[in-house]
Structures are given as structure tokens and as C-alpha cells.
């Protein structure tokens, strides 16, 4: 398998080249090229419909790409290069490629028929083949880490939104990912619950986790983000260190968006 050309000596964790995605006649991604290095926290902002969630979902192959390339570390995603052609992978192979990627959703998507502990051990037991004792010990540690040591046996319906989202983060971490994707993780939460989720994400970033975070939380992007990408109409309009993009946006569309968000 050929390797993407390294840029600064190390292979980026994520590297996208001209990503294209359409839903029917709607061209959602019109050529997104960027890269994320190990340990980097990339925040993605933009108006709704700008393609930021779709971009995130493409990285995890919840959406198939229509064009462009996506490399995760040394692997081409979604296709196998053989005999000068790109062969589409099967669902099983895609499941295998997703193993190192954790994803957290806007609406949590916890499994309602399983307890918090059951949600967290499901992936390690079914996808990684860990036995129950090992998986549960790890799951307890993760739930402790997100501050839910008293909620092992609670069902999602018995938890607040913030607690559910923290279980969801623990569930993603249980797969021992090298990359975490967050799709507007605090947008469905009551304002007073946002902080507890952001705190968990900050501690993850501090531990060196590579993260891509689609968010409207300007404060989080400024404090935790290494890079801020501003997307609009399926392309990256502007990117750079959050302090600079937020403080002195160059592009008129970024300026307009930020003036509305920052009010």
C-alpha cells in the first residue's frame, strides 16, 4: 500500500485530500483538504448546513465518500488499492477500520436497553473480543474517570443529558481509540450541563488525545483547540490557531458568522 507523502517527518493521524460528498443533488462537501497530527485538537465551526458534521461522519465512514481521499495514519479509508484500482471495502472491513476511532454524537445515542456499564463494555466485548471481566474492569475505570462511579447500573433513561453524554464518551474511549470525533457534543444539553461534558473533553485533550471537535463552544475552541477550522458551503474558508481565527478573522464569512455567534 502506498503511503501519503509525510509533511513534517511524522505521518498525520488524519489526512483528507479534496473530500467530496453529495446527498442527491445537494453538494455538501466540495473539496475539503486538511490534516490532523497526533495529539492535535482540531475544532470545526461553521453555520448549519456548512458540511462540518458530514465531514466528521465521513472520517468515521458513517457516510461513504463520493470523491477525494481519506487517510488515517498509513491506511487509505474505505478502499483497497489493488492493480491500479480502488476497490470498495465490505461492511466488515469498514467496521475493522473504525476500531481506532471513537465517536460522540450530538444526541448521545446510548443503547437504551443496556445499563451504563453495558453500553461501555459492548464494543470491547463484541468488536475486540475481550472477556467480560476484563471489559467490565476497564469500563468501571472509564466511568470513574468521567465522574460516574455511582451510575454503573443506571439505564440511560435514568440519567441526565450531561451524564448520558459522559457515558457516551466512556463508551467511545473503551475502544482504546487513537482519534476521537465529537459531533456537537454539547448542543443538545441544558446550559448548566454543558460544563461537565466540556471538562471531560478538556482532560482528554490534556492527556494528549487526538481530537476533532465540531462545536459552537467558542470558549472551548479558544482554550483547548490547537487549530480552528471555519467551514462554509462545503469548503474550509479559514483555518489557523483559534486565537487568531477568533480574534482577527480574515474572511468576510468568518467575520459575519463570528459576529453573530459572539453577539
Amino acid at each position: 500500500m502506498s503511503q501519503p507523502p509525510p509533511t513534517d517527518g511524522t505521518t498525520p493521524v488524519v489526512r483528507t485530500v479534496d473530500l467530496q460528498k453529495s446527498f442527491g443533488p445537494v453538494h455538501v462537501l466540495r473539496g475539503v483538504s486538511l490534516q490532523v497530527r497526533a495529539g492535535e485538537v482540531l475544532c470545526v465551526m461553521g453555520p448549519s448546513g456548512s458540511g462540518k458534521s458530514t465531514f466528521l461522519r465521513c472520517i468515521n465512514q458513517l457516510e461513504r465518500l463520493d470523491g477525494g481521499e481519506l487517510w488515517l495514519r498509513d491506511d487509505l479509508v474505505g478502499y483497497r488499492l489493488r492493480g491500479g484500482r480502488l476497490h470498495e471495502l465490505t461492511e466488515r472491513e469498514i467496521a475493522r477500520q473504525r476500531r481506532g476511532i471513537g465517536m460522540v454524537f450530538q444526541r448521545f445515542n446510548l443503547f437504551p436497553h443496556m445499563t451504563a456499564l453495558g453500553n461501555v463494555v459492548e464494543g470491547p466485548m463484541r468488536a475486540l473480543g475481550h472477556n467480560r471481566a476484563v471489559a467490565e474492569a476497564a469500563a468501571r475505570r472509564l466511568l470513574d474517570r468521567v465522574g460516574l462511579s455511582d451510575k454503573y447500573d443506571a439505564y440511560p433513561a435514568q440519567l441526565s443529558g450531561g451524564q448520558q453524554q459522559r457515558v457516551a464518551i466512556a463508551r467511545a474511549l473503551a475502544m482504546e481509540p487513537y482519534l476521537m470525533l465529537f459531533d456537537e457534543p454539547t448542543s443538545a444539553l441544558d446550559p448548566e450541563l454543558v460544563g461537565e461534558v466540556l471538562d471531560v473533553m478538556k482532560s482528554l485533550a490534556a492527556d494528549g488525545m487526538t481530537m476533532i471537535v465540531v462545536t459552537h463552544e467558542v470558549g472551548f475552541a479558544r482554550e483547548v483547540g490547537d487549530t480552528l477550522v471555519f467551514m462554509d458551503e462545503g469548503v474550509v474558508v479559514e483555518s489557523g490557531p483559534p486565537g487568531i481565527v477568533l480574534g482577527a478573522p480574515q474572511h468576510p464569512r468568518t467575520q459575519e458568522f463570528l459576529s453573530r455567534v459572539l453577539g
Binding site: 467496521a95 473504525r98 454524537f105 463484541r126 468488536a127
Partner: protein
């Protein structure tokens, strides 16, 4: 001039205003209509019971035949055919539902045709067709084995296929509705933790779909139990046929029909209890709903909290 005090003698006394209502007795709304309608239905039911008690029914005959060995044998056959055809209906129903929802247009169309065919023809007709299949195919072969259809298509076999396949068409639609009711985010979350499509179906989608499928499936079970009486026409020795045999000889028609009715009700009651417990099992994680407010005739009857 005093303005407080209830119903003061002074004609100028104003009714108490905001902030002055504490301590006043509160009179709950009386539901007179509920009392009237309750009385009417109780009288009607009493009349009906009286009519049956005085009608020319030998209740002692009913009692005697209720546990007769022939009746119990018929009952056993009824229960067996119901369980077997429901098992067949569930297996085929899940298969057809999955085919109906597949991305493959050929399997999708075939599943659609299957449902159209077996849901569209009356069960009685289907039973007769299966039973008389020997007229179409005199022999049936499985590889090197060959048998006469008349030996294979026993009354039990015909009843099993007729009832089971007919119910499977309904079950397929139930299962499909159940699967469609599972939020798409559940599948995405399962994909995100690297579960394979098979694991997602088994571990995530079906358990949640079951919650939606079970109540109508319980209904189907009860329908199948009752429809199994149609198998009497193809000489399967279930309860109705047994009862008919007995009353042909002793002419106690109504008494024996009542015996059968009692047994059907008994089995349905048992099924309902089983359904309750199975539903509770698959309702795990969904109990955090508030209790339904208790209703009563007049709210005070049971000392329900007044509001």
C-alpha cells in the same frame, strides 16, 4: 366597614380577593355521569347473566365434560398446533421482514409478493389448499427420498403450514415496523464502536424492536390460537373437532361449545400473563416513565389526592 369575613351580613361586603382564599374549603367536581353510566351497564350485565342462568343449558353437563379426556386431548392438540405455527410464523416472518428491507431489489420484491399472497387469501382457503396439495403434486421428493404427498401432508402438516405461513405474512409486517421504529442513531452508534452488521442486528436493533413488536405479536398469538379451530375442517383433531364429535353423538351442542369456549378463554388468559412478563423483560431501560394517574368514579371514593 369590614370587607373580610365570608358572607358577611352587609350587602356591600366584597367577595374575598387575591391572597384571601387560604383555608376556604374546596369542593371537588362531582362526576354524576360516571355513576349513571356505571349503574346502566351493571344492570345490563345482570340481565344477561340471569338470562343465561335461566336458559336451557345443563351446566352440570358442562362441568362433566370440562375435564373429559377427549376434550383434554383436543386441547393439547390445539395448544401444540398454535405453538408450532407461531414458531414457524416468527422464523419465516423475521426472514421475510429482513428480505423486505434489504437493499437487494429482487429479494425485496419477492418478500413483497409473499406477503401479498399469504395475507390476501383467507386462512380457511389456505388450509384446504395445503390439505389437498396431493391433487397437484402426487409425490414429493427431497433429494434421493421420495414420498407420497398424501403421507406427508397429514392434517397436522397442513394445519401447520396453513396457519404458520398465513401468520408469517402478518409477522413479517410487524417485525418490519419494529425494526423501522429503532432510531437510526442507534445503528450509527453501534457502527462507531465497530460492531459488524450482524452484531448490530442481533445486539442493538432486534432487542429494541422487540419492545414494539411484542404487544401486537401477543395479539397474533391469540388470533392463531382461535384460528386453529378452522383446522377442524381438515380433520385435525383439535378442540373444536373433538367437541363436534361428542355433540354429534349426545346432542349436547351448546354445553359442549361452552366447554370449548371456557378452554379457549383459559388458554388466552395464560398467554396474556406470559405476554405481560415477556414485555416487561424487553422493556428494560424504558421504565422511567411516570405512573399513570389513578382514575376512580368520584375522586374521593378512594381518597385520591385532591387538586
Amino acid at each position: 366597614m369590614t370587607s373580610t369575613g365570608h358572607g358577611g351580613a352587609s350587602t356591600l361586603a366584597a367577595p374575598p380577593g387575591p391572597g384571601q382564599l387560604a383555608g376556604l374549603p374546596r369542593v371537588p367536581l362531582r362526576h354524576y355521569g360516571r355513576w349513571v353510566s356505571a349503574a346502566v351497564v351493571v344492570v345490563l350485565v345482570a340481565l344477561l347473566v340471569q338470562a343465561f342462568a335461566q336458559g336451557s343449558i345443563e351446566w352440570s353437563v358442562v362441568g362433566r365434560y370440562l375435564t373429559a379426556s377427549a376434550i383434554l386431548h383436543g386441547l393439547a392438540n390445539t395448544v401444540i398446533i398454535t405453538l408450532c405455527s407461531m414458531a414457524l410464523a416468527i422464523v419465516l416472518g423475521v426472514l421475510v421482514a429482513v428480505m423486505r428491507m434489504s437493499a437487494n431489489p429482487v429479494t425485496r420484491t419477492i418478500a413483497f409478493g409473499y406477503i401479498w399472497l399469504f395475507r390476501g387469501i383467507p386462512v380457511l382457503l389456505q388450509l384446504l389448499i395445503w390439505y389437498n396439495l396431493a391433487l397437484v403434486f402426487p409425490t414429493v421428493g427431497f433429494g434421493p427420498f421420495e414420498a407420497r404427498m398424501i403421507d406427508v401432508m397429514t392434517p397436522f402438516m397442513a394445519a401447520l403450514l396453513g396457519l404458520g405461513i398465513n401468520m408469517s405474512a402478518y409477522t413479517a409486517e410487524l417485525v418490519r415496523a419494529g425494526i423501522l421504529s429503532v432510531d437510526k442513531g442507534q445503528i450509527e452508534a453501534a457502527q462507531a464502536i465497530s460492531l459488524t452488521p450482524n452484531q448490530i442486528r442481533r445486539r442493538i436493533v432486534l432487542p429494541q424492536a422487540m419492545r414494539v413488536i411484542l404487544p401486537p405479536l401477543g395479539n397474533e398469538f391469540i388470533s392463531t390460537l382461535k384460528m386453529s379451530s378452522l383446522a377442524a375442517v381438515i380433520t385435525y383433531g383439535e378442540m373444536l373437532e373433538t367437541v363436534e364429535f361428542i355433540y354429534y353423538s349426545n346432542n349436547r351442542i351448546i354445553e359442549l361449545l361452552i366447554v370449548a369456549a371456557i378452554w379457549y378463554l383459559a388458554v388466552v388468559s395464560v398467554l396474556s400473563v406470559i405476554q405481560h412478563f415477556v414485555e416487561r423483560r424487553f422493556g428494560r431501560g424504558f421504565h422511567a416513565l411516570p405512573n399513570r394517574k389513578a382514575r376512580s368514579l368520584g375522586r374521593r371514593l378512594k381518597g385520591a389526592p385532591q387538586q
